[in-house]
Symmetry: C2
Subunit: 345 residues, 2 copies
């Protein structure tokens, strides 16, 4: 099996500002056979996430170790076990792992999580994966929404935002979103059934919130940071909660911009701002998957994916997810999904 070749995405240099295609390289490497305690995975989908921009910096203090120049990126992926030297894992089993951004991944037993092939595998990176868990835990555990509250979600057409807002709607909240184009905003209200969504490129978030939430907001789910966060603090009601999930507006900035000047209102309005990552909610995975699976089956929650074909699209996907080229989850398809043989594009 050692004549198998895998293409992988490497970091050619650290981006300055917005990543460029030349910051990445596609390389072909030999695929070793799995050693004892390893499995060889044929990847089907790669997860393309805004937080990966942070891994392109030389910052050992970030969530995860930085990518190394001249070496492959890593990231979430889902695929099919082809060879296994792990007891309990057999060829044909499907798994998620973090050794993505290549066509084939060699993984240790502890690095893979089995998933059921009864659903399209892409779901395990999106609505039923880390993305969905981030949204679910952020809305329910962090922001602790209550029925009747008004919830504002920025990046509402994005991977996490699109699910977070729908969960708030299912939870009985009035849900307002912001998105990066009039088309996206329309889609957010029509397909995701948010109560309202504005295009933040044509309307100032503060003015838009004044208009659509004259009584203020109870919860802000922040994927964007910057002006969105400042506007949300201006409009948040006493005892409001802000779940800080991402700040995509500044991921490409060499130095982060100053923060909101209205933080004092957090005191007078007794607001809690909770930064969180999905890492602390692994213990909630089972309950989360029960909830979201049921909502998808009941037609309550729409799962959207933007899928680019082939690993040669990876750089385009990485660049695009930072400027909102995706609607819903951004994925790169690098192989056929064994669960959905009919779904080839």
């Amino acid at each position: 099996m050692s004549d198998r070749r895998s293409r992988e995405v490497q970091l050619r240099r650290r981006p300055a500002g917005a990543p460029q295609p030349e910051d990445f390289a596609l390389a072909e490497v030999a695929v070793p056979s799995p050693g004892e305690g390893q499995v060889l995975v044929r990847n089907v989908h790669l997860s393309v996430d805004p937080f990966m921009r942070g891994l392109m910096r030389d910052d050992e203090d970030y969530l995860l170790p930085p990518f190394r120049v001249g070496e492959p990126l890593y990231g979430g992926a889902v695929g099919e076990v082809v060879e296994s030297r792990v007891p309990g894992l057999s060829p044909g089993d499907c798994v998620t792992h973090m050794a993505g951004f290549r066509e084939w991944s060699l993984c240790g037993a502890a690095e893979v999580q089995p998933v059921s092939p009864e659903r399209p595998l892409s779901l395990y990176l999106g609505a039923l994966g880390m993305t969905g868990l981030t949204a679910w835990a952020g809305v329910l555990d962090v922001a602790q929404i209550r029925p009747g509250e008004t919830v504002f979600v920025s990046g509402a057409a994005g991977a996490v935002g699109s699910i977070a807002g729908q969960i708030a709607r299912i939870g009985g909240c009035r849900v307002v979103g912001s998105a990066g184009s009039p088309e996206k905003a329309k889609w957010v209200t029509e397909v995701l059934r948010f109560d309202h969504c504005f295009d933040y490129r044509s309307a100032d978030p503060g003015e838009a919130l004044s208009e659509c939430c004259p009584g203020g907001i109870d919860v802000y789910f922040d994927n964007v940071g910057g002006r969105h966060l400042e506007a949300a603090i201006d409009h948040i009601r006493p005892l409001g909660r802000i779940a800080l999930c991402g700040m995509v507006s500044q991921y490409n900035d060499a130095t982060p911009p100053p923060g909101p000047s209205n933080l004092f209102q957090l005191i007078t309005r007794q607001v809690t701002v909770a930064g969180f990552t999905v890492n602390n909610f692994a213990h909630r995975m089972e309950r989360f998957r029960e909830d979201v699976s049921a909502w998808i089956e009941a037609g309550l929650l729409h799962s959207e994916e933007t899928i680019l074909p082939g690993i040669e699209s990876a750089a385009e996907a990485l660049i695009g997810v930072l400027v909102g080229r995706n609607r819903g989850k951004m994925l790169v398809r690098v192989g056929d999904d064994p669960a959905v043989r009919h779904d080839r594009r």
Copy 2:
């Protein structure tokens, strides 16, 4: 009794920047006799608090209604009932109320809280009053300190900070403070027994924290905002908590300065920032007074007061508390304490 005269502090004009003596006026008014359901209180101490700077602005959206130009200020006070038309309240009873900044106050029955005259009345504005409750609730209910944690308190020589840090120490934490002079910093470590205190006017808070907390901090109790908050976010450890109590560094600013540029670290480190005011902790008053009374009696908690004499000192006190002229609680003494006849200055 209607020939009784009371001096009161009026707002002559709204301050621009730091308040000036000319922003206030002392006026003498007749003291009416109490009507049905009212008591007449001879005030002993007035509470001088940084948050009152916000009441000098024309801002209906602040914690409490703004002071009105040409009318008396209001604020916390403690005194002795002289005449009563309230069942259950008799002359000689001692009460706290919010109708201060005058020598005599006419209060409705619901506006006064009886206190025991067994202790110096000033304590009911400081360590056993709203100040102490703010510190106690902020450290225990909001920041939820745990033994062994490192707690950073800014404004450590101030009214709330001096008590907050001591409560964290009593709770088994390593406590680091910042104060506005070398003398204060020395006093904070020697008398309040913080583990460390730096003078933020001679040392950058970020550099000082790097030096005295190389392993980072678990909790930040913020009385100051600005550079202190940014430095605390830079040094906070994963799952840290920030209790936002005040931002005295910007109270005199006409427009608030930009906020910290490092808010993204709240996400990667999963930090919770909770703005709070004492208003939401009234239900904790009894338990708070039990705790703090016991700590004072056991010699574990030192209560410090800076007392200016006479209502003619009120403007000086209001100006001074915003630039740290006080050590511990800032008070204006406007009458003799019936509880401490020997303690006249």
